[in-house]
């Protein structure tokens, strides 16, 4: 087997393909069924081939062009801990915006993230205020785009 992660992502494609195929057959009109079913069918086929490669291949690093090439002597693995932390920050920021809006979340996130990363509190605070000013200057005053106010403050 090449990599566990590679296998799992191939399985993910297989599941999506199967789901697409089964769902598309329920659409009724042939116009609605044709292409989704065909595409899903190809996905199922290719995902099966890829799973086979992942399970039985010797493990030479393959990649597609258009991405950074993997070095053959060092497989890229996911640092789940680090990734979890970063995604946690992103998700927390999104949730904060949803709840409290940009006005509160932007400076709060900017300050808290930079402090967590070990920056001096003054730099973090100044940067947070600059970001708040930029967001309001560019979006609310410049483009008259109403930024989300947060459901706590009545936005929908």
């Amino acid at each position: 087997m090449r990599t566990k992660g590679g296998l799992w992502i191939a399985v993910f494609f297989l599941i999506i393909g199967l789901y697409g195929l089964i769902q598309s057959l329920t659409f009724g009109y042939w116009e609605a069924v044709a292409l989704p079913a065909a595409v899903s069918g190809v996905m199922v086929l290719m995902a099966t081939v890829e799973i086979g490669k992942e399970l039985y291949s010797s493990g030479k690093g393959e990649t597609t062009s258009g991405e950074l090439k993997l070095r053959r002597d060092k497989r890229e693995e996911i640092d789940f801990r680090r990734l979890g932390l970063v995604v946690g920050w992103v998700a927390a920021f999104m949730l904060c915006i949803y709840l409290f809006g940009f006005r509160i979340s932007v400076p709060l996130y900017a300050f808290a993230y930079l402090k967590w990363r070990g920056r001096h509190w003054l730099i973090a605070a100044v940067f947070a205020l600059v970001m708040l000013g930029f967001i309001y200057g560019a979006f609310e005053f410049g483009l008259k785009v109403s930024l989300f106010q947060g459901i706590v403050f009545g936005a929908r």
């Binding site: 973090a124 605070a125 109403s146 009545g154």
Partner: protein, 346 residues
């Protein structure tokens, strides 16, 4: 750690306090006019930026700002075929600060076709004004093989064009087939006006229904020309184009269908507020709109956008009455349209 907490707390306080400077004072406003001063009016537009409803809304918005002292912000919510915007306005706080600029045709058609995602009720909205009453015309190629109703009736296996099956263009085209008893079907899925006009010019479709003001540039480019009006009277924009009732004799249910297209399913820009807006604020807005309609500069700006020399206006109760009348007939027209879709969709 203490410093972090203090700074976060300070920032939070700032963020919570600052907005208060923009807030209203605690005391109740004396009049509707006082209420709007310094507030923000959010106009929800349920169609694409640059469309006639959007442009008209922005003109109205500039006059609103001038005469109310409020600042007007526009938000485009055109998702779900415009339903997102209408539903949003319908369920908004009825304080008079959220208004909707919606396409009148789609607004009504969604209820006629009993669209499950349309949570609003026609008779419950607060209506401000309806601008425009653009009739539907049947468009054909200027140099094509079908130049008259007789040509259409003699044609075989014809294909007319439309967008989505329950959309206005499609239903308009299907209505033409029904009224003229044509040997034709409607191909659905040609969503853009320009694409339909080009399809006519190429000979891919025989024609489709559209409003003059929405397709003037396609007419000027020689892609299409109107053959007749889907109505009982001629359109002032094109006085040489006959009404369908001048060409063939129409009575009974067919005449009701024609009158539906002429009186109700006209393309317009509708300005609405959520149900339950206080009467005094509604009356204030109605009064402003009535004043603007008397203003030549305002009318000139609207006419320029709509392409009409003399745009038509309905204010307040007149619009509400129209919607109430339509609400009574929804079921009948829904069955009729569903039958046509089943019969004429290619």
């Amino acid at each position: 750690m203490k410093r972090i907490l203090v700074t976060v707390a300070l920032l939070l306080v700032l963020c919570l306090v600052l907005p208060a400077f923009g807030c209203d004072s605690e005391s109740q406003p004396e009049t509707a006019a006082d209420f709007y001063k310094g507030k923000t009016i959010n106009v929800i537009v349920n169609s694409s930026a640059g469309g006639s409803t959007d442009c008209i809304a922005r003109v109205l918005g500039s006059y609103l700002e001038r005469d109310t002292g409020a600042s007007v912000v526009f938000t485009t919510r055109k998702g779900a075929g415009g339903l997102e915007g209408v539903n949003y306005v319908y369920t908004s706080e009825p304080d008079g600060l959220t208004l909707g600029a919606v396409s009148g045709l789609k607004f009504m058609l969604n209820k006629i076709m009993d669209e499950p995602a349309a949570v609003y009720e026609l008779e419950e909205f607060s209506y401000l004004t309806e601008i425009g009453a653009r009739l539907s015309h049947f468009m054909v190629a200027p140099d094509g093989p079908y130049q008259s109703v007789a040509d259409l009736q003699a044609g075989e296996d014809m294909i007319l064009g439309g967008g989505s099956p329950a959309g206005t263009v499609c239903l308009g085209s299907m209505s033409v087939i029904e009224l003229l008893d044509l040997d034709a079907q409607v191909v659905t899925g040609i969503d853009e006006e320009a694409d339909r006009a080009l399809a006519v010019k190429r000979g891919e479709i025989v024609g489709y229904t559209a409003q003059i003001a929405n397709t003037q540039t396609n007419i000027d480019s020689g892609l299409i020309e109107p053959m007749f009006v889907l109505g009982t009277e001629r359109d002032p924009l094109m006085p040489d184009v006959p009404a369908i009732t001048e060409i063939i004799s129409i009575a009974g249910e067919d005449l009701e269908l024609v009158e539906l297209w002429e009186d109700v399913l006209v393309s317009s820009s509708l300005f609405v507020a959520p149900p339950g807006v206080p009467e005094d604020r509604l009356a204030f807005l109605h009064g402003l709109i009535a004043e603007w309609i008397q203003d030549e500069a305002f009318r000139a700006e609207i006419d320029l956008i709509s392409g009409c020399e003399e745009e038509s206006y309905n204010v307040g109760d007149a619009v509400a009455e129209k919607m109430l009348n339509l609400a009574d007939d929804l079921e009948y027209f829904k069955d009729l349209f569903l039958e046509m879709i089943e019969k004429y969709r290619l």
